[in-house]
Amino acid sequence: MKSLVIIPAYNEEKSIEKTVADIHTNAPDFDYIIVNDCSTDGTRALCEEHHLNVLHLPVNLGIGGAVQTGYAYADKNGYDIAVQFDGDGQHDAAFLQKMQAYLVQEQADMVIGSRFIRKEGFQSSGIRRIGIQYFSNLICFLTGNRITDPTSGMRMANRKVIQLFMESYPKDYPEPESVVTILKKEMKVMEYPVIMRERTEGTSSISPVKSVYYMIKVTLAIFMEKIRRV
């Protein structure tokens, strides 16, 4: 089984090497691809210097477009499984193999790494948790499936989902919305308990000002996804 780790990177020069090393050591069966989303720092030079496996986007597409590039790469190179993995040191590669075993065992189409099943590790700040809980409830209300961590950026997909995401993927704040897409197609989404760290480098893509936009946009997107024809 060929598995790929997709690492979207925007200005992650300080942590990208560590992330790749983490995957090499703790998930040696996984290939990786860095999607450099037109970083303005030394990410590009660093990747070239260390001969990392990298795709350089010529213009900044945002997280959605970057991750989608990774899925397109996965599809083109015949990967059976692709997993999104943050380049900022939040995610722990030690969970990748377990997530994959779980996906195969449960015959799931997607496995989300959830912080909130065992409630271990970094649990995000209080206000963010309220937001995450809200999306979890909204998705449960609309689809009948309880996803405890719908905003998790650590998500593993099988071929079916890879192809679906390659076709269409939300541009910004894609996680909760795309979970609804998958659920609406009656695909099986499972969650696996993971421990996340507090980010070591960089800042969240969601600043306080943007969070209002985030809540409104994602709520609308979820409703749109609900009324969209399959």
Binding site: L55, P58, G65, T69, A72, K76, K171
Partner: protein, 122 residues
């Protein structure tokens, strides 16, 4: 007084139309996207030449002064045009995304081929 205004407005409209046609001729403007502007200018010319049209529309909709009908129509037209632009921007941004993704994949392949060639030479 009215006739003076009609002539001035008509001239401005004609100039605008000529300008647009010239830009299309010099390929600075895509005919496809200029069409709505050209239609609008021609409609405005018709109204300018036959002002009673405006009075008739005003009467039908119960608008007291014809000039308000003009403003209303102009406003509706502007909104419609802005909306088509939003649609076009959505479509373009999707195309840019697809192009960038394809370019990134190609660039990676070129880089790898170059590396292979270099290794062969060494």
């Amino acid at each position: 007084m009215m006739i003076k205004l009609q002539i001035v407005a008509g001239l401005i409209l004609l100039l605008a139309l000529l300008w647009i046609v010239n830009m299309i001729r010099r390929r600075k403007l895509e005919l496809k996207y200029a069409l709505s502007w050209m239609t609008a200018i021609i409609l405005m010319l018709i109204v300018d030449i036959f002002p009673p049209i405006l009075s008739v529309i005003s009467y039908c909709f119960g608008i007291a002064t014809p000039v308000n009908t003009l403003f209303l129509l102009g406003f509706i037209f502007s909104l419609a045009l802005l909306f088509t632009l939003t649609v076009i921007v959505s479509r373009l941004s999707d195309k840019v995304r697809q192009l960038s993704q394809a370019a990134a994949m190609n660039e990676k392949e070129i880089r790898e081929l170059k590396d292979m060639l270099k290794n062969q030479e060494d």
